[in-house]
Symmetry: C2
């Protein structure tokens, strides 16, 4: 297994903290530098054993890095990756953990072409399909990536060696890795993550408050992700706006068919539609 | 704690089986008779320790019952309760575990007034807010009702003694009991259970199948109840049609507001709507 001399993590919350914990627990990095804007959060990450050193300055944190991972909220990834790319050692590999990919990959590719990066520095996008409604380094877990999928989004410019390195990196944390284009990634997560988030929020917000104590497991399950951070999710949803709207249209079309079957008291049709949903859901475990 | 000489359970699946297990484990009933149409299912319930005796005939099963609980799918409850009410000992109390209440309570009240019931037999509706996407006596658990809410729906004709008896019955299985009218019950569960079920089904059915292996916890949570039995849910949704349509309209209104905020790239509005959803969701635990 490849080991790293110095891994810099920009943004040491749930995801960044878990990357650091996993690297250190598994002996995969000599140094893990936590970089952030909040000294308290950095101190918490250090106490949790997620990083070996902390700093408020990106340039200071990445100066010896052979790998930089930007784990900030999506709206800050491009800016922070660009600062890291201008300050890290020549030849360092950069990646991120953002929930949207096309805009980030495109903007960073343009920045690299403008020539402000250190020589030989490359960015390849990543998205670990994990995390939950909690945030902050206090919820970080070394096992967070085990058996989870991580999507990586190489471009035509990405070398085979970098794809392999990034793939091995996530696999070394226990994940399985799937490669696809950034555009395809964004279509997938619109359907599997972003629209479910909007829908879960709509269920929660449309439930009369006096009924909430009378909910059972079904409501709790369907609304769980609505507890996610509104500021983060606003960025994610707007960062993937066109795919979210397209995927939402597909959802509302299916819901309208279910609604019509209820309205017209068409028991056979309703049962067929519910059975089709069950068939797709049953393909996975609980 | 009141104990029963003979409790008859019509329909020994997940709910009926769990009632039987809980009664016997807690020593609350001398005899628990499992009544069903499927000899294999009855044999499984007996093996699981959920019943002490089984029969395919309602009239035979209820002949000594001081309490009858009808736990069949909702579309069969009225018919089976009426048969039980005509065959049980004078003075027996009947209840059910159906997910809809107004139609069942109304029809059984009319049946009672027509005079075909044994003398002094009463029906008071119940709905334990539990169960999950699994079914069958093999999934029954004695703890199923612990700390769960059970809604009971007395009418103007229900005596204070019967309300108290039924309340104590569910409390003796570990549940907390909430009383409301059958009409109010049906409004509540439309919002907290029936619409979430439709929505979960629509998410599952609108997810392209090739994306399903790329889902994470959010999709799994929001779609879990879509694995429920389509035949059962078709009955439940059509049995509460008007409330489901009204509640669905409230949901689609909130979803449309979220959609508009995404479409118009209104970050502030989107964040406010997501925060309102989070506030309601955070009122409960995970």
């Amino acid at each position: 297994m490849k080991t790293w001399n110095s891994v810099a993590i920009v943004g040491v919350g749930l995801i960044g903290g878990s990357v650091g914990l996993a690297l250190l627990r598994r002996g995969l990095a000599k140094e893990v530098v936590g970089i952030g804007r909040n000294a308290q959060s950095l101190a918490a990450a250090k106490r949790a054993g997620a990083v070996t050193r902390t700093t408020l300055e990106i340039a200071d944190g990445v100066k010896a890095a052979d790998l930089v991972i930007v784990c900030t909220p999506v709206a800050q990834i491009v800016e922070q990756a660009a600062i890291a790319a201008a300050a890290c050692p020549p030849g360092a590999l950069l990646t991120d953990a953002g929930s949207t990919k096309a805009e980030i990959v495109g903007q960073l590719d343009a920045a690299r072409r403008r020539g402000s990066w250190r020589p030989g520095v490359r960015f390849v996008g990543s998205h670990p399909l994990t995390g939950n409604e909690k945030k902050g380094p206090q919820h970080a877990r070394a096992e967070l990536f085990e058996k989870r999928a991580v999507i990586i989004t190489p471009t035509d410019d990405t070398t085979a060696a970098d794809r392999e390195t990034l793939k091995e990196f996530w696999m070394s944390l226990g994940a399985r890795v799937v490669e696809m284009s950034a555009a395809q990634h964004d279509r997938v997560v619109a359907a599997t993550s972003h629209v479910p988030h909007l829908v879960a929020s709509a269920i929660a917000a449309s439930t009369p408050e006096e009924y909430v104590t009378l909910t059972a497991g079904g409501w709790l399950d369907t609304t769980r992700i609505a507890a996610g951070d509104p500021a983060l999710w606003q960025q994610i949803l707007l960062g993937n706006r066109e795919n979210v709207l397209a995927s939402l249209a597909r959802f509302t079309g299916v819901l309208a068919a279910l609604r019509t079957a209820v309205e017209q008291q068409d028991a056979a049709k309703l049962e067929t539609l519910l059975a089709e949903a069950k068939r797709i859901r049953d393909a996975l475990g609980s």
